[in-house]
Amino acid sequence: MDGRSLIRRRAGLRLWLSAGWLMLLGIAALLAPWIAPKDPLAQDLFLGRLPPFWMAGAEPGYWLGTDSLGRDVLSRILHGARVALLVALVAGTITCLIGATLGLLAGFLRGWVDMVISRLIDIWMAFPPVLFSILLIAVLGPGLTSIIIAIVVIDWTRFARVVRAEAMAQGAMDYVASARVAGRGRIGTMVREILPNVLPTVVVLLTLEMGIAVIVEAILSFVNLSISTDDPTWGGMIAEGRTSIHQAWWVLVFPLITLFLTVLSFSQLGEGLKDRFDPVLR
């Protein structure tokens, strides 16, 4: 077997593992109200900091133990998946639509449109993104909608930067010129000729962006600026686990593993797709 097919096989495995985990997570999120063993909000101070099932002192039914308020860790992780994936899908898609459109316009139309958008991107790049998002949440108030808006406002530049460069490269090619000669309008050319060619890149970026959205949500709930503190979020659980790390490591470890795998999967899925789309490797 030569190196190239080895790379492809490894990339294929990576692609399927990531997709598998995300599918599993998606199903768990959808079915959370039915498959979660306990009510994620139910507190029971007598059952506080129960260890996971294989350790001494575990209670049956609390598979992954409980946090300091006696809430079931597994149930909270499952319900947390709903928040995480919702943010990933909605914020990712909106960011993608706005960012890619702006990038396409800047890269294809050039001129003053490009000037304005590029300068905006420069300004955006000078903001520390985490601080920016925290700032926005502070202004918008906590809540899912605020998180989604914050992600869109901050991350559109990721799409705009890449799509702009791609559109510019594509716009310089002969097939675009011939479409124009054939009498297609500027916007028509952009939508019919350029867009399909930048689409693979956009899909890859979208996948990566979903992973980023999951992280941003986790960070914001870690800083306690996400949705209300009672609602289960991975970031909120991690924040709680961080404070009681020496007493109850499982409160931190399980949501962390879930988050880690999810972020890794989105990223590997994106990279895997990139290899798939890459004509050099295909």
Partner: protein
């Protein structure tokens, strides 16, 4: 720039003259920096004011009376029209007055400058770690290219790149704070220690004063946050540098060096590394600004008393002048880093250095 493009670059710069090139780069960059900073100032100022919600009410504890609100508004000049407020703020900033923090009643500039050294030390330590880790990975990967060791390095790089600093921080806390507690998981220095320092550059000053006991304590505090910040950047350096090293290793002057009797390691280090490092450098500059941005959440995670931790407190406490000051400072650092990288590139590239 790819090494193969060398000849073309060569021609262009010989014609223009080097001093001119650097000067022109500098001027363009300064101009765009000013525009960018102005944009940042405008956005941060208006975003925290224009969006629904009375900023004065946000500053006060719940249950404050209308009178309190009015008095406070007047005190901070917030009763004036927005544009006037902005003018006053900008005029102040240009004179070095960033206003007064609402929560601590201290000048914003003093607060910010007091915390800046902690964040700078953390960022630079992280950068050094990233360069060492990434550089080593790239060199080993190049030395054993095509082999299993290169494959292992690629996989590790891919992992490191996929997961952001925040998660690496948590993983490190579990590993070196709980499982095998060798490093401190919070703070910048053990609070009970007597600090003889006159500056806020603890790490640097402890070295200068030869207080290695303090230095070790500070490093034990900084190690994990710095490593968490360093891991993703190390992966990027590892990937880019390995890529361009491998390209460089096929160039004629490297082949010629091989015929002279040099070993592989020496050929990589002496012939290829410097030329391969140049294209990596610019990208690392951009990535370093991401690293600095990452200090905000990493400092929070490790309760490290730096600028980022203060920024989150400022946001939570609705301390508008402090938020403005910190964001502006971050923007200034970001643009400065990019400028420095551009200049460094010019200095390190002999084609640009000599006319």
């Amino acid at each position: 720039m790819i090494p193969g493009g060398a000849a073309k670059q060569d021609m262009r710069h010989r014609v223009t003259g080097t001093g001119m090139v650097i000067l022109r780069t500098l001027l363009t960059r300064l101009l765009t920096t000013v525009i960018t900073l102005a944009g940042v100032a405008v956005i941060v100022f208006f975003v925290i004011r224009v969006v629904p919600g009375n900023p004065i009410a946000m500053m006060l504890p719940p249950g404050a009376t209308e009178e309190d609100i009015a008095r406070l508004s007047a005190l901070y000049g917030l009763d004036k029209p927005l544009v006037t407020q902005f003018g006053i703020w900008v005029a102040g900033v240009l004179q070095g007055d960033f206003g007064t923090s609402i929560t601590t009643r201290q000048p914003v500039l003093d607060l910010v400058l007091g915390r800046l050294p902690a964040t700078l030390e953390l960022s630079i330590m992280a950068l050094v770690m990233a360069v060492i880790l990434g550089g080593t990975a790239a060199l080993i990967g190049t030395r054993y290219r095509g082999g299993r060791r290169e494959g292992a390095i690629d996989v590790a790089n891919g992992m490191a790149l996929s997961v952001p600093d925040f998660l690496w921080g948590l993983v490190l806390i579990l590993l070196f704070g709980v499982l095998w507690p060798v490093f401190h998981i919070s703070g910048r220095v053990t609070p009970s220690l007597e600090l003889p320092f006159t500056t806020d550059f603890y790490l640097f000053e402890s070295l200068i004063r030869l207080r290695f006991d303090l230095w070790a304590d500070i490093v034990a505090h900084m190690f994990m946050p710095a490593l968490a910040l360093a891991i993703p950047l190390a992966a990027i350096i590892g990937q880019l540098l390995k890529q361009s090293l491998k390209e460089t290793m096929n160039l004629d002057y490297v082949t010629l060096a091989r015929t002279k009797g040099y070993g592989e390691a020496r050929v990589i280090l002496r012939e290829a590394l410097r030329n391969a490092a140049l294209p990596t450098l610019t990208l690392v500059g951009v990535q370093f600004t991401f690293l600095i941005g990452g200090t905000v959440i990493i400092e929070r995670l490790f309760s490290y008393e730096g600028l980022g931790n203060m920024a989150i407190d400022a946001v939570v406490n609705r301390d508008l002048p402090l938020i403005q000051g910190i964001v502006l400072l971050f923007a200034l650092i970001f643009t400065a880093v990019n400028l420095i990288v551009d200049l460094l590139y010019a200095v390190l590239n002999p084609r640009l250095r000599h006319a």
